[in-house]
């Protein structure tokens, strides 16, 4: 296999991750640094460093033309977009194809179909994949919305066609609420996503967010790598993920059905890369297709940990038309349980982003902990970028062992100068509902573990910090 030149059009921990996959494959990893991140830590795993001029995302990691120009100029064979930024942008993928550069992701058609709520839902239905009862096309009027609501029953959700990440949706428990909310949500969506069209959907109560990892090659082979549960969310953004799902638990029948449904959908869209099919699961274990993310996902490590496969490596191989060396679905097995805690630069109680300068960073972990991160002493966490600075992953033979390991791992992260949500994770790892695995997406709002964080400052903790500072001052 000829070694390739791979450009990573991303930053932070995922850029590290992709570069390390290239390192294994013998490919040349090429990384960007921008005006506002000259000391981009992810360059440390890259073989070549390129200056992507500008500071705003629009000037840099969202700037298709600048990226493609640099890619051509540096004779790049393929571009890995990571997650976020241009990772699900069909136009970008199209432009790359035109430029003769491989987009390390799925085919353009798949991106486009799955990128639109309505068309993806329609496709799912055609493929016999259960979807949340509701409309697959935009609902033009309030009257129409109410008509649909009466068919599928309350509560319902008003949802922006172009929305995502939990933004642009509103729950309505009766007709009046629809009348009140309809136009407001429409206006919001228009300004937020440039599209005011709304869908009406049945609202699933106490839902679980469960997703299936897909990996496919360019030869029509589509495999699943089991599921992940991502129900611990704040503001509809995941902060803790696990594999396998504690809600599905020992129900192998349900697990197989869910995973095979995801594969069926992926095949229907001729999927040919790493991707994730997201489902919402009700308390009765009925599940409905939400959306398909046509990219690698933040939480991919927990799947790698329980299946032993390197998803990023496979994704790159698939993009270049190489074999995945996976003989069959049955050949893919899972063992143990993995948990991921997203480490974010945010206030652990308000969970609002809290940028800052990392003045000290150390770790001291038990065995078998994985920490994908972009932290280093002197890292400036700016509001420009995602507040997530790392992903702490612990694996055990069973869930209780993974939780035990995660507790010890959280105790072993020392970050100075930055507020992080580590104190929140520490509480959750000792909170009974989580330990019992009986949580839904409303966990944070209902159980409110953030309220159990002990914020008391004791002198020992102050002396520890001061002593570290004074010792450093002495040049020790």
């Amino acid at each position: 296999m000829k070694t390739k030149r791979v450009l990573i059009a991303n930053r932070g921990e995922i850029a590290n991750r992709v570069a390390r996959a290239c390192r294994e494959l013998g490919h040349t990893a090429i990384g960007f640094y921008t005006d506002n991140e000259l000391n981009a830590q992810h360059l440390q795993y890259c073989d070549e460093w390129i200056h992507l001029k500008g500071s705003t995302n629009a000037e840099t990691y969202l700037n298709m033309d600048a990226i493609i120009e640099l890619a051509v100029q540096h004779k790049v064979d393929g571009i890995h977009p990571g997650y976020g930024f241009l990772s699900e942008n069909g136009i970008f993928a199209e432009k790359l194809n035109k430029a003769g550069i491989v987009f390390i992701g799925p085919n353009v058609e798949a991106i486009k179909v799955m990128g639109d709520k309505a068309t993806s839902k329609a496709l799912a239905q055609k493929a016999g994949v259960p979807v949340v009862p509701g409309t697959s096309e935009a609902v033009p009027t309030i009257a129409e919305a109410i008509k649909v609501a009466n068919e599928i029953g309350y509560p319902i959700l008003l949802k922006a066609v172009a929305g995502g990440g939990g933004r642009g949706m509103r729950a309505c428990y009766d007709e009046d609420e629809i009348k009140k909310q309809f136009e407001a949500v429409g206006r919001e969506s228009l300004s937020a996503f440039g599209n005011g069209d709304l869908l009406v959907e049945k609202l699933i109560l106490n839902p679980r967010h469960i997703e299936v990892q897909i990996l496919a090659d360019k030869k029509g082979n589509v495999f699943h790598f089991f599921e992940r549960e991502c129900s611990v969310q704040r503001r509809h953004q995941k902060i803790i993920e696990e594999a396998p799902s504690p809600f599905i638990g020992e129900d192998e029948e349900l697990r197989r059905e869910l995973c095979e449904t995801a594969v069926r959908l992926a095949k229907a869209v001729n999927y040919d890369s790493a991707g994730t099919v997201e489902f919402i699961m009700g308390e009765d274990k009925s599940f409905y297709f939400l959306e398909m993310n046509t990219r690698i996902q933040v939480e991919h490590p927990i799947t790698e940990e329980i299946t032993g496969v390197d998803l990023i490596v496979c994704m790159i191989q698939s993009a270049f038309g190489e074999d995945l060396n996976i003989p069959s679905q049955e050949w893919i097995t899972r063992s143990g349980h993995a948990i991921e805690c997203r480490i974010c630069a945010e206030d652990p109680i308000t969970m609002l982003p809290s940028p800052g300068l990392v003045t000290g960073f150390e770790t001291n972990f038990p065995q078998g902990v994985r920490f994908d991160h972009c932290l280093f002493k002197d890292l400036e966490v700016t509001p420009d970028f995602d507040p997530m600075v790392g992903k702490l992953v612990a694996k055990g033979i069973v869930r209780s062992v993974a939780i035990r390991k995660m507790r010890a791992a959280l105790e072993g992260v020392y970050i100075e100068g930055l507020k992080t949500n580590i104190p929140l994770h520490k509480v959750i790892m000792n909170e009974e509902t989580f330990i019992a695995g009986k949580y839904s997406t409303s966990y944070i709002s209902e159980i409110a573990p953030q309220d159990k964080i002990n914020t008391e400052v004791d002198f020992t903790s102050i002396y520890k910090k001061m002593a570290g500072i004074e010792a450093k001052r002495l040049g020790m």
Partner: protein, 168 residues
């Protein structure tokens, strides 16, 4: 040396490094004394040991925990609390009652007066050096202005809350 930690609610902790014993090139002992409202509220001896390039903290020399090295930061964080850190002297904004009136914040002795009446001074300029708790504290000016009057002389031993000089 003394360090002022002042959090977002303007709560103030004063940490004095009242003793430093260097046992070896990679082992040092510190004695810290903490004051809240000029009251000694806590005093502790701690040991820092460098091992394999990292720092370890101990209070008894037997049990040790790893800590992060850091240069003197502008902020120290604890869970959700942020302390602004001032080292060696109080920040101008807090250097005495009124903007221009410099009062002693603790009992101490005037080591040096760096200005005379009539001098033009600027915000942040050191006007007086006050020795207190075995530490020299630079007393800075809180405003731009002119030294109106000086009420103390070098060598004076002062109680807390004494007006040293006025700037207008």
């Amino acid at each position: 040396m003394r360090t002022y930690l002042i959090d977002s609610e303007k709560n103030e902790v004063v940490v004095d490094l009242t003793k430093t014993i260097i046992h070896s090139s990679d082992k040092v002992e510190f004695e810290f004394s903490s004051f809240v409202d000029s009251e000694l509220v806590n005093k502790k001896s701690v040991i820092i040991r460098q091992l394999a390039g990292s720092y370890f903290y101990s209070e008894n020399g037997v049990s040790w925990s790893k800590i992060a090295k850091q240069k003197l930061p502008k902020k120290i964080l604890s869970i959700d609390r942020v302390f602004d850190v001032y080292r060696g002297y109080k920040p101008s904004g807090l250097a005495g009652g009124g903007e221009g009136a410099l009062l002693t914040q603790m009992p101490g002795k005037i080591v040096k007066i760096l200005v005379k009446e009539g001098d033009e001074v600027y915000k942040g300029q050191t006007l007086v050096i006050l020795e207190a708790m075995k530490m020299e504290n630079e007393i800075k000016c809180g405003v731009d202005g002119v030294v109106k009057s000086i009420h103390v002389k070098e060598g004076d031993a002062l109680d807390s809350g004494i007006l040293m000089l006025e700037v207008e």
